[in-house]
């Protein structure tokens, strides 16, 4: 059976890192440090997420003499997916059916 897309721990880590600051644009190096993923793992994931419309990207002007940098943030659907993973994580962390993070 083919594995479900975006279910890997690495993908979740990237989505979760992007969800921490959903409005700000993040760079690849910054994401690599936040998730502990090497560039060889991170970029294929970013490409995949971008192809699926879960990630927005843009070129940002850098300091003079430096090339522009690619920056990323979650799209609305990316944010929804990241939130669903977060909720799932909360459910797993709180056994007994009580949803973590939900008001009582």
């Amino acid at each position: 059976m083919a594995p479900k897309p975006n279910q890997s721990l690495q993908t979740r880590a990237v989505l979760s890192a992007l969800l921490e600051k959903p409005l700000s644009w993040r760079h690849g190096y910054d994401l690599s440090k936040a998730t502990g993923l090497k560039s060889g793992t991170l970029y294929p994931l970013l490409i995949r997420l971008s192809d699926q419309g879960l990630l927005d990207s843009k070129w940002e002007e850098a300091e003079p003499g430096r090339p522009p940098r690619h920056a990323y943030r979650l799209t609305a659907s990316g944010k929804a997916l990241a939130l669903s993973f977060d909720a799932e994580k909360g459910t797993r962390a709180a056994p007994g059916g009580k949803l973590a993070g939900k008001p009582a």
Partner: protein, 214 residues
């Protein structure tokens, strides 16, 4: 600029060259991050990762490494190697020699064929059509005769009664020599050497050794 930094830059250039054209923006993105790194060691690790990412993307595009086909080919080779071991163990099974070699060559040739297709696909780029690249890298006419070659070598081996000479090696060397693009030999040798080693191990552990009828 340190040697490590220079090497890392070469790696980044290579990553950009390997990355499929559709994703060239991502190669630039990886390079831009690389340029912000002050530490050489970190930059080198980043560059190695970028090469890995580019190859992953390029291989993803090939869609030629059918896992089931590769497994089937490997299965053929494994089955043939087992029969080989059986024959060395007892002459009663000598009748299996030709089918075993056919399986062996069938599997190896199929695997090599897939590898060549993949290599050709890998280097296919706009202006470098796939078929043209394939023709430049593969002696296509050799593949249909692979089975005949295997049966011929099997029969020859049986006639000689010389199971440990590895006459099949000649077939491979011929295949390598005939190939027009010299550097592809590397891939063939890289595949062949482990197979030969496996065969030698099987031969050495299969006791008592028997002599095949002349």
């Amino acid at each position: 600029m340190t040697i490590a930094r220079r090497f890392a830059e070469r790696l980044i250039d290579h990553a950009a060259a390997v990355m499929p054209e559709r994703l060239s923006e991502w190669a630039e993105a990886m390079r831009a991050e690389f340029d912000t790194m002050p530490e050489d060691r970190e930059a080198l690790a980043w560059a190695v990762g970028c090469v890995w990412a580019s190859y992953r993307e390029r291989i993803e595009l090939m869609q030629i490494f059918s896992k089931s086909l590769l497994r089937a080919a490997a299965g053929f080779v494994a089955l043939a190697a087992s029969i080989h071991g059986l024959i060395w163990w007892s002459p009663r099974y000598v009748g299996l020699l030709v089918p075993a070699l056919s399986l062996f060559y069938g599997g190896v040739f199929a695997t090599l064929w897939l590898v060549e297709l993949a290599i050709a696909r890998f280097w296919t780029a706009p202006g470098k059509p796939f078929l043209k690249t394939l023709l430049r890298t593969t002696v296509l006419w050799l593949w249909p005769v692979g089975w005949e070659v295997s049966i011929f070598v099997g029969a020859w081996k049986a006639t000689l009664g010389y199971p440990h000479v590895h006459v099949d090696f000649i077939g491979f060397m011929l295949r390598i020599l005939i190939d027009r693009a010299g550097y592809f030999s590397f891939y063939f040798v890289a595949i062949f050497v482990p197979l030969l080693l496996c065969e030698l191990i099987i031969a050495s552990v299969s006791k008592p050794r028997s002599r095949l009828p002349a």
